[in-house]
């Protein structure tokens, strides 16, 4: 027999502990990945946000004056933070998971006893970690331009976390069904970016004509950005914060259930 006895966990508690170790291992691996390529993952959002603050805030913002009763530069801060979280959480999971599939390194995880739920949680936690890291960077950048004040910590952090989870799960689903690298850039380019820019990051919805304003309420990012802004200023326009929370949580539940259902059936991963 082999010299070291690394026996099968015999109790439910031991299995749970082993799964916890697997989750932490995958999360650390994901964090190592985005830190290793920090010029691609952490610097670009900082540069983009600095440009947004400089151009839309400092240069154009002065001419705009106030938006919904707030200084324009201050108004766009929550939206810009949320925009970075959405794009980075999504991109981290879709790129990491698809790359692992593409170079078959995912097989190392698949042959291990790690349950699908732990695998999913590990990738999503990696996306959340990058989303939060970028949020912190962008917030620090913003602090150079405006005074950051938080009206409701629970709403701010809760929405930040839920949004990172939802878009990490969406990125996972994209990575699961992608066959080539193009497939993980189509949704960010043609769906996420337009929805984010039209999601009330740069303007208050009440500025829009009725038709466009009504249409905007079908954009889920409107609820995310408005609720997050509420966390900063106590202002969310006519978007109900509690309902937004429930809606985002429901999206997280649906995306989690779908991802796990696909994984358990081997769809997109096993032949």
């Amino acid at each position: 027999m082999p010299q070291d006895d690394l026996s099968i966990p015999s109790s439910r508690r031991a299995v749970f502990d082993a799964n916890l170790v697997a989750f932490r291992t995958l999360l650390l691996k994901e964090i190592r990945r985005f830190l290793r390529i920090w010029p691609q993952t952490l610097i670009p959002p900082a540069i983009s946000m600095a440009l947004y603050f400089a151009i839309f805030g400092a240069i154009i913002g002065r001419r705009i004056g106030e938006m919904a009763g707030f200084d324009y530069m201050e108004f766009i801060v929550p939206g810009l933070i949320m925009m970075s979280v959405i794009t980075n959480a999504y991109a981290n999971v879709s790129a990491s998971f698809f790359s692992a599939k593409f170079q078959k390194s995912i097989e190392a995880l698949m042959v291990s006893p790690t349950p699908n739920s732990v695998m999913l949680a590990g990738f999503v936690a990696g996306g959340v970690a990058r989303g939060l890291a970028v949020a912190a960077i962008v917030t620090v950048m913003a602090a150079f331009f405006v005074e950051i004040r938080i009206h409701n910590w629970f709403v701010t952090l809760g929405m930040l976390l839920l949004t990172a989870i939802v878009f990490s799960l969406a990125g996972f689903l994209n990575g699961l069904f992608a066959d080539k690298f193009d497939d993980i850039s189509i949704i960010p380019a043609f769906v996420l970016t337009p929805l984010t820019y039209l999601g009330g990051v740069f303007y208050a919805l009440e500025l829009l004509p009725d038709f466009w304003r009504t249409l905007s309420y079908f954009n889920p990012i409107v609820y995310v950005v408005s609720s997050f802004r509420y966390g900063f200023f106590g202002y969310s326009g006519d978007v109900p914060v509690a309902a937004s929370f429930l809606a985002v949580a429901a999206f997280a539940g649906v995306f989690w259930g779908l991802s796990l259902w696909f994984l358990n059936r081997g769809i997109g991963l096993r032949t």
Binding site: M1, P2, Q3, D4, D5, L6, I8, P9, V15, D17, A18, N19, V21, A22, R24, T25, L26, L28, K29, R32, R33, R36, S99, A100, Q103, K104, S105, E107, A108, L109, M110, V111, S112, P113, T114, P115, G266, R270, T271
Partner: protein, 317 residues
């Protein structure tokens, strides 16, 4: 109570989405402690079989047990007993060698200190400890193979499955890997090997199954299989050139080159007589070897596929 088999497969079928039937209901057992060869031409179903055992491929029908654990009942427990070395490199080339192995240990639930200890143990055993802080892309082909073996062993599996482990590595590394695998097997690890190098299977394995077109066409001991060979062909290198082959009936003799003969000898025939008769006609033999791997001849006969045989001859060369 009888000891469970290391691997027990019953009626295993796999039909891929396009309708291709890769496995047609195979049965296979591997005893604990065995060194087992699973051979077959390209596309025969070897990798599909291994893929199902390791959960990379979803089976269509049939049952698989690992040390008595049904994969349909508790796949996680079964997977803890298996280590897999796939045919293709399947690690991130940008990760550090030590991280690749330690991460795998974590996936099996080994805590950090234990994972680090196991990583050191197997990186040292496989001569990669000095490379632990290098990115995997800087390793040579042979080192990458050894890295995959270290990764597969880090959780001390009782069943090690190697899919073409020595493909593309030079003969020296191949021999050192054979030696390592023999040690692992002697220490109690059951090993299943697929390979194109039939010499490898003949040298290492005690039992063998040959799979072709999704069916097991032979499943026996290596010794019994090789005894099926009725004749062997020997290649003789001569001291002096000949203009034609000598008459040595009942032995079949062919002149291949002026200083090289091929002689067919049946198992019941006597090699001494061949040399006496060559000596009698003044032919001196400098050296002698088997024309080809004996297992290869059987393999070709069993799979009856010229294309496959050709592939194997080249690969074995």
């Amino acid at each position: 109570m009888t000891e469970p088999k290391a691997l027990s497969i019953h009626g295993l079928k796999k039909v891929y989405a396009g309708g291709f039937e890769a496995l047609k209901g195979i049965d296979l057992t591997v005893e604990q402690g065995d060194f087992f060869a699973l051979l077959g031409p390209n596309g025969a179903g070897k990798s599909t079989t291994i893929g199902i055992i390791c959960s990379l491929v979803v089976k269509t029908a049939g049952a698989v047990e690992i040390f008595g654990i049904d994969i349909d009942r508790d796949f996680a427990a079964a997977k803890r007993l298996i280590g897999v070395v796939p045919q293709e490199f399947n690690f991130s080339i940008f990760e550090r060698v030590g991280d690749i192995v330690e991460t795998q240990a974590g996936f099996y639930g080994l805590r950090h200190e234990q994972a680090a200890r196991q990583t050191e143990k197997y990186l040292r055993k496989l001569g990669l400890w000095d490379k632990r802080n290098e990115q995997a892309r800087h390793l040579s082909g042979g080192m990458k193979r050894r890295l995959m073996i270290a990764r597969a062993l880090v959780h001390e599996p009782r069943l090690l499955i190697l899919d073409e482990p020595t493909a593309g590595v030079d003969i020296e590394i191949r021999r050192s890997m054979w030696s390592f695998l023999r040690e692992m097997n002697e220490a109690g690890t059951t090993i299943i090997l697929t390979t194109h190098y039939l010499e490898e299977a003949e040298s290492l394995c005690r039992n063998i199954a040959i799979i072709d077109h999704g069916e097991i066409v032979e499943n026996t001991t290596m010794r019994a299989l090789l005894q099926q060979l009725s004749t062997e062909t020997l290649v003789l290198d001569l001291a002096e050139p000949l203009t034609e082959a000598p008459e040595l009936a009942p032995y079949g003799v062919r002149r291949i080159e002026p200083t090289r003969l091929e002689v067919d000898i049946a198992r019941e025939q006597d090699l001494n007589e061949v040399f006496q008769r060559l000596d009698a006609v003044g032919i001196r033999v400098r050296s002698m070897r088997n024309k080809s791997n004996r297992l290869e001849q059987l393999f070709v006969a069993l799979t009856q596929s010229e294309g496959s045989a050709e592939t194997l001859v080249h690969a074995a060369g």
